[in-house]
Amino acid sequence: MASDVNRDYPPGWNPLACSDTPMLPNTLLMAKLSVLILLADGFWRQLQGPFVPTPGIFPTIPEHAALTAAIHLVFFGLAACILFNRSVRPASASLGAFIILLQTASMTAFRGPDFLCGSLLLLAGLQGPRDEPVLIRWQVVLVHAVAAIEATRANDWGGTWVANRWIPEDFSNPVLLLVEMILPTGWFGTIASGFVVLAELGLVVAFLQPRFRKYAIWGGLILHTGIYAATGTTETAAFTAGLFVSYLSFLNWPKESVCALWPRSCGWPMWLRIALDRYDFDGRIDWPLPPDPNAELEVSYGNRHRTDARALRDLLLLFPAFYFCLFVFAAINQCVWPVAVSVTLNGTVAFGLLWFFSVSSFSGIRSRWRNRFSESRY
């Protein structure tokens, strides 16, 4: 039986549950997914010497077994605390600070995706108990602003697609290579960097306006899925995952439980309802018997009331296990298959989900427009 989110239970040990801690469920979900990204990206493998300090005035610290073991112990200990819901705020802030410190202190440990995950963890921990993740929203704005500034290096953008092909394991997208060959020298870099600068700046402006935030999230999802599909490297995959995780800060996570009416003939498969019931580890969804067996699927929480595809969309968006499943699927694909296969599989799923969510999100707008046209016709 689901109950109010503000209930006063001690947090359980289930790593897939995100309620009953001083963090809001979406903030804790973000922290857990950031930890999983760091683990899947093999961040712990980089936590070994030599540690090359970024400011050149400090001496390099060579590899030392005891130092490496101590760093691993701290990293895995704090990661376990977050995953198993133990003292999540201090653990998240300490792990984030630890990662940022390592990243800035040692050039060998610096990687964009890991830095992003570290700062998400730090900000999630610094946010007050049960506060909306405002700091992480600012982090999202900052990431896009920095990406726009970085993309002004047009030479880097042009060169990377074709550079260094003397390394056999280097992956270059054949379609982009062809486009770069057809265009006059230097044009591809200028066009690609110009487009990304404008797109990222547009996203910064849209994220700052609450009215346009929904479109900013759509734009960000499409743009970065596209960049991932174009490059397909593990680093891009990890960064894209980290960025999408940070978008969870904009989700309006309901403070009360969700009530779902799922009639047998509503058109959505029954196994999905059973799965949603079984894997609701937070016990947040109520499943009362629907009064009308032929009605549409209905979901209500707070003052919101959704039906059909939009109802299913909300159920999935507010369901932590859904994100864990997506993450495991994407990470296994990225690690197991060659780049071309993993990009195709992950890209298909990403665009498929975007399509489903767009159909369900914008169906209201479509029908409003349809009504407007039909009204004007008569």
């Binding site: 990687r111 600012w138 920095v146 970085e150 990377t160 490059t231």
Partner: protein, 109 residues
């Protein structure tokens, strides 16, 4: 408050890095990387790839988000500390993005 200070510092760090010739810190995953190959001889005998990666904890060739300076520091750091009694010669070929290939030698003349 600490969060805001951290965000400002982060913006300054990444903004400063972008205007370096070879940025050492960036979010962008298509922005900057170094491709490199390394040849090492110890007492006149050349080391095989596994011996090189065991010595420096990085593969003997590949692609890294370290700048060429970072790679030099990895080798210099090991050789001036742990391996300073060895008769070692390192030749490192690096190429930053689409730039031209540069060769770096250790010990430095």
């Amino acid at each position: 408050m600490a969060g805001i200070v951290f965000l400002v510092l982060q913006g300054l760090l990444l903004g400063y890095s972008r205007f370096q010739e070879k940025p050492f810190a960036h979010f962008s995953t298509v922005g900057g990387y170094t491709s490199y190959r390394m040849f090492v001889t110890l007492d006149g005998r050349s080391l095989d790839p596994s011996q090189i990666s065991e010595r420096y904890k990085i593969p003997h060739r590949g692609r890294t988000s370290l700048t060429p300076d970072g790679l030099h520091a990895v080798i210099r750091g090991f050789e001036t500390d742990e391996g300073n009694s060895d008769n070692i010669q390192v030749r490192l070929h690096t190429k930053y993005n689409a730039g031209s290939e540069e060769i770096w030698l250790w010990p430095q003349m």
